[in-house]
Structures are given as C-alpha cells and as structure tokens.
Symmetry: C2
Subunit: 400 residues, 2 copies
C-alpha cells in the first residue's frame, strides 16, 4: 500500500502545539525536554514496557490513559528516572502535575516519559524550570526541533507523517520517536509520540495502537536488550471533523489502521538504521510458520544471535550461524522443511546445504542492506523483523 | 568442600588410553583430532545440545550411549559437521564405524563429536587417515596434548583432575573440555570428555552427570549463543575395583557426585575465563529465589544483557543496567524486595537506590574478577552463574 508522505511530524494534525528546550539535564545546551499538547480534548492510548524494573514515569503514563483520554505529554531525555525509588515516583508525579497546571488540563490527562541513564535521581529544579519554559513556548512552528528534543544517542531525528481520507474529511497522522540503544521491545517500544486529528473512540484507538505496535516496534532489535522506559503514546483530538470512528467496520477505519501501521513501521526501521554504531540493516522474513508466535520468536532469535551479527558486520556469508540461531530457539520446527535464503542465495534447502558461488556470496555479504528469508514449510503465518549488525563500535560506545 | 587436585586429565583413570593428531582439517599442522579409549568395558552417559539444528555427530553419540555403555570417543575440531545434510550424517556414522573397527569395539560403543565451522562438509579422506593414525598412537603418555587436540579458538588447554576414596579403593576422575565462543549451553554443554575408573551402573552414572551439568556447563555464557554441537560424555570403566555403585545411598557415592560437580564447575569456569577476547570474569549469585528456575533465568538474563557486559568491559559501575536486565526477564520478582550488590557495594535495596562512594565504585568496576549478588528476598532457592564481559575484540574476532 502507498502512503502520502507529508511534513509536520506531531504538528501535522490540527490543534496540536509543541516545544523543545535545553533544560540542563544534559550538558552543553543540548535539547532535553519536550512538551506536546492538544488544544482540545483528545482520546488517548499508550503501551509501556513490560520490564519488571520499569521506570516511574511509565506508571504515571498508564494512569493517565486509563480513562482513554489525555491532552499533554511531557518528556525529558538524559535521565531515565528508573530505579530511583520513592523519590523517583514523586518526581514523575510532580512533572505531570506541573505540566497539567501550566497547560490547563486535569492531572490525569498528562502523559510523562523519561529516557537516559538508570539509577540517578532527576535534577528536579532544572526539570521544573524546563516545564515552565516549555509551557510559554508551545507553538505549531517547528516539528523538527521537537523531534530532536527527545533524542538520546540517536544521530538523526525520527519523524513519520501521512494523511488519509475519512469520509469527506482529511485526517493527519504524525509521529516522532527515539532509539538508539537498549532496543528489543516486547509488548511495548521505545519512546514514540503520535498525534492525529482523527475523531475516534478511545477503545478503538487503543486496539488499533496495540495491533500496530505488535508488527512494528515489537519486531526490531539493535542489541537484544529490553529497556525500562519504552513508551508509545497516541493522542487523537478529532479536529479533522470526521464522523467519529467507533468500529473497525466504519468507513475510513481501514485507512487509519493502515496509516498507523505505516508510521509505526517506518519509525521502527528508522530506529534500527540509526542503531548505535551499526553499519548494516537487515530485514528478516520468516514465512511458512504454523503461527505468528513461532515466526516472531525465530526472527527474534536470529536478530539477537551475537555471532550472526558479528558475521554480518564482517561481511562473512556465514549462513551456518543462521541455522545455529534458529535451532537455539528450541521451537519444534523441522530443519528438513526449512529453506534459508540470504540476499537471494539459497544456502539450505530440503535438508541439504546448497551449492553457491563463493564470489557472489562474498559480494552479497558485503552489502549494506540485507534480506534474509526463512521459510519453514509448515503453515501460513509469517513475521517481518528488522535488526542491525553488532560492531566493535557499539561495544566501545556503551562502555560508559 | 576441598578436592585433591592431581595431574592426568582423561588419562588419570586406570585403563584409559588416548592420542591427538594433526589430520589436516585445520591448517598449519594444528592438532585437530583426538581419540580416547577404555581398555575395558565402561558405563557411559552423555548429554548433547538441544539446538533444533544440531550436528550429525550428536545423533550418533546419543545412539552410542542409549544402552549405557561405550568405550571409544572420536573427536575432530575445525569442522562442526552441522547443517551438512545426508552426507554429514553418513560421515558421522563412518567416523564411528572406523574408530570402532580399529579399537575393536562394537559400532554402538563409539561416541562421535565434531566442532568448528557450520555448513561445510568434512574432508573425509583426511578424517579417515587421522582416525587410522590415532588408533596406532593410543597411549597413557601425554594428557596435555590430548586436551590440546579438541581446542578451537581456545588459548589454553582446559583440564580438571581429582581423586577420591570409595570404600578402600582410590577412584580417579579426569576431564578435558573446549570453549570458547558460541557459549550459552542449555541442558547440554560444549565438548567435554570425562573418564573415571569408578565402577558404577549406567543409570546412576547418567543421573549424576545430568545433575552435575545442570549447575556447571548450563550456568555459563560468553556470548549468549547456544551451539549446535555441545556434548558432555563420561566413561566409567571400573578399573578402580570398587564395589560397583548402584544407588545414591552407597558408600562413596557422595564423594563421586561431589568430585564430578567439582570437575564440571572447574572446567565451566575455565571456559568463561578463556572466552574469546574477554577481559573480565563475573560470578553472578542469585539468592532468595522462590525456585531454581527463577534464579537461573535471572542470572542468565543478566549474563547475556549486552549493555551490562559492555559496561563491565568499560569499568563503568552502571548498576542500573543490572536492574534493566533483571526486569527484562518478565519474571514476577519484586524490585522492592530485591537487593543488588556489586563487589560488596550495595547499589539497590528496599526499593531505593543506595548511596555509595563514587571513587570506590569506580575502583571496584575496574577489577578483573567480579562478584554480583542478587537477593530476591522471596525464598530459599539460588543459582550461581559465570560469565564474561563483551569486548570490541570479541566482535572483531567473530567477523569471519
């Protein structure tokens, strides 16, 4: 399906305002706080990490969207506010209270997110000053700066924006997100904020978000490490004026679901491409699986198998490590029915290694973008997963 | 418990002979084949990898020990004979047949093992010539050379030998093994060969081996990658002349079980210390767990969490990554009851981060050997796990 690509990020949708500021949480005047606000009431949904040691703000965010409504999002980077104990929970609540007060919304209409180092208390004097400044700066002017404000180790802003018709109305959908390490979400994702001027019920919005996250942010890995702070949140304020969507059968719902899937997949792939010090981008497609869970787990196993990722970095067509990775899943697939194809070269089929041209394999392995097909020959289910190589630079980068 | 450390490896036990040879599977005249043989009938047990894509020889080994008896072990390094299809299975059987013929034992009394690159057929002309030569070289002379013959990327031989009394007899127990990459065994281990002159029933030997493997080779990780070829095999030929052990209640059984545990743990730790390009050695102890499975899984999660291993390499006291790793298990432990202690420094307790001296933490993080204690405050079960750091050198090393 083709999508209309437009500019605007989280400010493409009508009646949203936002701002970014350097509050001094990070050093050297780098942007480290963002506020996004809907000028009118909005349906809201969010999904947060399942990590047992998850951060304080993820609890505040879950409370905020529990009634299906929210209007203001307040975010800081440079500090995860995770494993910070009772003080961390109070700090997260204080961030939400202050943002709510200054934007004139109820306390439980404010989503709070943090990202950065774990185990260090927030510098609340700077955070509070940052929130006060943000509230005075809200505008529709600069979506790229807003996208930059949530980054940590990312090297580029991650923005995806589209529009689609619902009845005779045009609906805008835009999102921003951040990577770029501790990336292996599970039933959740990294920080991602989505705005739309669609009118939709909170229940349908939430169901559509969960489905979109499942095949986008839950299908990527940079380092196999699930984070403590992953959050995706969407606000839908209805400013497009469409007849509110209440059911998957409504006219325009399919266009919305497809657009949301597109934006989430687009951003998920942007995260992998900007993974810390990565040099290769891999798409892994597992097909012929008995069910989605099997396809997803096999793809994930391959995407997180250290030795395979080292071989990809080195440009070594070491397909045997693909076999080892798949087998390490302990899932009951049949190697005799499995076909392994890497950059169009069939390496394993019908229970036998397949002959291939060594020079062609060497050339294929040295390319930047890789497509790896795993067909299990055992059903109709499939999963597409994106990952990167593992590099010495990644290890060096994360020694501090 | 203290164990008597003696020399001898797999030749410490009476009536075992062995040899190693450079058969030309590896280049540059490096040793790449080993044969170990019992001069008398022996009880035997083995455990092999659960990897679904496991190598041909692991099937032959399972068949060999199915009746609880075996006498000859034939091993090659430099080629895994994995993902080699029908030819690979025929080659593994041929290795066993030839070794059996030349050592005068039944075909189903021969254990076959391979280790090395996956997906490449064995050079059987060289392998057969190697087996013929080995059969003429068998002696009790040089256990260190035998240990060297099974190595791949290891930098040192891995040998553990002890002896213990059973009644009025002295029993010898010796073992050799290899690492050093693709190390994260599960219900199995890397190549490890154990000989003893104990007299014991096959059933009791097998039960004792399974228990020893569980808390040794199944509790280590270098890179989190389960291999296709992991095998531990033990031969017990009864040459010590003790009254055969038939029950855990027999006199001397406790000494044997403790000695076998000691040898397996000793070798498991040797594998981690010699992990590919590693610079740090970590012991992770999870205590206060509701059951062993929970303790083991939390330890494994921490031992394979990429960002934590990068921080250890860098000497960064980043205990927040320990919290993130534990939480990523999705197990229902309670962070409020959990205590995290790293090199004696309590970092997290009673739901709060604990103050510590920054200079002391920096000094602790820069040490070579690390002890990390995770107490869950939720039961009596525990698990001790060993792992290494992740280094840029490891990634470089595995690019080919």
């Amino acid at each position: 399906m083709l999508f209309e690509i437009i500019d605007g990020g989280v400010l493409a949708a009508r009646d949203f305002v936002a701002a970014a500021v350097a509050a001094g949480i990070k050093q050297d005047g780098v942007l480290d706080m963002v506020m996004i606000h809907s000028l009118r009431p909005a349906a809201a949904a969010a999904t947060v990490t399942q990590n047992v040691f998850r951060a304080a703000p993820t609890y505040v965010t879950q409370e905020a969207v529990a009634d299906g409504r929210a209007r203001t999002i307040i975010v800081n980077s440079g500090n995860a506010n995770c494993a910070t104990g009772s003080r961390g929970m109070a700090d997260a609540r204080r961030m939400g209270e202050l943002a709510a007060e200054l934007t004139g919304v109820a306390v439980d209409d404010t989503i709070v997110c943090s990202t950065g180092r774990i185990g260090v208390p927030l510098p609340m004097d700077r955070v509070e000053a940052g929130i006060r400044k943000l509230a005075t700066m809200l505008s529709r002017e600069d979506p790229v700066t807003v996208a930059r404000g949530i980054l940590t180790t990312d090297t580029v802003e991650k923005i995806s924006t589209t529009r689609f018709p619902v009845g005779d109305k045009t609906v805008h959908l835009g999102a921003i997100c951040k990577g770029a390490g501790m990336i292996c979400p599970n039933m959740a994702t990294m920080l991602c904020f989505i705005t739309t001027d669609l009118a939709i019920t909170p229940e349908l919005l939430n169901a559509t978000l969960q489905e979109a996250v499942k095949c986008s942010f839950n299908c990527i890995s940079v380092d196999g490490d699930m984070s403590t702070n992953d959050t995706v949140a969407i606000l839908a304020n209805g400013a497009a004026g469409n007849e509110p969507l209440t059911s998957p059968d409504d006219e325009g719902y399919a266009a919305f679901a497809a657009a949301l899937n597109h934006v989430c997949r687009d951003l998920a792939q942007q995260i992998v491409r900007d993974g810390e010090e990565v040099t290769k981008f891999l798409e892994i497609r597992v097909t012929g699986a008995p069910d989605y869970a099997t396809a997803h787990e096999l793809a994930r196993k391959l995407a997180t198998y250290t030795l395979f990722k080292c071989a990809v970095f080195g440009g070594d067509f070491n397909w045997g490590r693909i076999a080892a990775a798949l087998g390490s899943s302990l899932l009951p697939f049949d190697p005799l029915k499995t076909t392994i194809t890497w950059q169009g070269i069939v390496a394993w089929k019908d229970g036998e290694p397949q002959p291939y041209d060594q020079a062609a394999a060497k050339a294929a392995a040295s390319e930047t973008d890789h497509l790896i097909l795993i067909d299990l020959g055992a059903g109709e289910a499939s999963c597409t997963y994106w990952t990167s190589d593992l590099t010495p630079g990644y290890v060096e980068y994360n020694t501090h």
